[in-house]
Symmetry: C3
């Protein structure tokens, strides 16, 4: 049986993952509507801020708690990495606004779907972390995230290849190249969360 | 009471942090004067080299020492991360020279002030690390570094937004975009030092 | 005496390092011939895929094995980092194809030689890891990798400096700047493997 304080960590991880998923889902909506403006950027920023608050709560819990469900560093790392995904989603949203790119293309749409899916798998995995008898299901989610990361790698190559082939305006190329790369990087960060979760399972084994 | 060899680690950390601060301070001076030339690049490189030497000394101490004040990996990581800050300051200095950018703008000036401040907080935090009763003061420095990192994030967005709005020369944009991003990255690296220090405190708690 | 299962880890590390070296060697050949085309990209991708398979085998071994030759996280990290080097070599190869750059220049040639040398030193170091009495020889390989990393840093500065001086086409500059940076980053990743190996030795000391 987990003691009360240990449970609290899992509650916080789940909250943090769900908040990150909220950001990913909202980003996907923005890519569909193309509405990257001051108002929507502020909403995304609020979600990101909420993530920071949960992250801080995890840190404070660590300070006050003697017995933790896994290694202190792993708790810190997991929380940090989930936060990085949300930061990355917020960063790409801000960059779309900054570059005044109001017409997301089909490549970015594919990226935003992948990011939402990977975030959803993170939520699923994190929710099972409180019981190591779920380790094979958790591993399956980590594999799924890794599969999405491979897809996103491939997608970035196609997107950037087309970008250089079909355009001659270097400033347009600079902007979109960065957007595609940041999108791909977001999925990498999801995969990094997956690897952190996987390494926690390995240690508990 | 700390034994002699343990004290030596703290002496080295302090030396390393102070040398890094020296680099950050010198960079701030160069941004004020705009004198990014062969001579000043060589001075910065000498400071960076001195940092490498201290970093190597920490590694060698680790090899010769059985009992260490914290986990061997954390000592290695802290020393490595402080070194990364200085490397980053050296990198941006070299890039200014390479791109023949002799007219630093007010955005870069703001970055260089932030980098100097964050480096100064790292020195302050490192100096207290030898006594865990200072942990709340150390945490305050880590928070301050994190606050500066948030500022620098914001500053980069403004600087890059203006860069694209006010210029049409793509080569000019490529150069300055990289300078701003490297500057912001330097502050990120400072924040990473802060997070390493914080995680050491958490473990000792 | 190492037990059978522990030996298996060292066999896998060696296989993984040798496969990575194979990729580095092939990249060097491609840079000489300039033949970055569909066929050669597919060959490189096959090598990268083989690396993924070995990486997965290491993870599975970790799951099934109770006693490991070093910390579970270090095994995981070492395997991961070797994989990152190969990924990086594959990435630059794909990018050459994507950007239709069929005329590698002398700077890229120098990078590819350095990458092959650093990879070769990784193989040498990994082969000695099964016996800590080799620790000083292992450290010498780590130092050699670090020396190559410094060379590659310098090379990137020269290459990028010349790129901006001798060209006025921003799209050409964007492409080659990224190639040089990815090449330099590959050597950084080699150095990171070296640092991981070094930290394993430090812990065992």
């Amino acid at each position: 049986m987990l003691i009360h304080k240990e449970k609290k960590f899992f509650t916080l991880f789940t909250e943090q993952a769900e908040n990150m998923y909220k950001g990913a889902k909202y980003f996907n909506e923005l890519v569909t509507s193309g509405k990257f403006n001051e108002d929507t950027l502020a909403i995304m920023h609020r979600i990101e801020h909420e993530g920071d608050a949960i992250s801080r709560e995890v840190s404070e819990m660590l300070n006050r708690t003697f017995i933790t469900p896994f290694d202190r560093e792993d708790i810190y790392m997991l929380s940090n990495n989930i936060d990085n995904v949300l930061d990355s989603v917020d960063a790409i949203t801000k960059r779309m606004g900054l570059y005044k790119l109001t017409q997301p293309d089909h490549h970015l749409k594919q990226f935003s779907v992948i990011i939402e899916q990977a975030s959803s798998s993170i939520v699923d995995a994190v929710k099972l972390l409180d019981n190591m008898k779920h380790s094979s299901r958790i591993q399956a989610y980590c594999s799924e995230i890794n599969r999405l990361e491979n897809m996103s790698d491939h997608l970035r190559d196609i997107a950037i290849g087309e970008l250089f082939e079909k355009n001659s305006d270097p400033i347009f190329i600079i902007k979109w190249k960065e957007i595609y790369e940041t999108a791909e990087n977001t999925v990498d960060t999801c995969d990094y969360v997956g690897k952190t979760i996987y390494s926690i399972i390995v240690k508990q084994a």
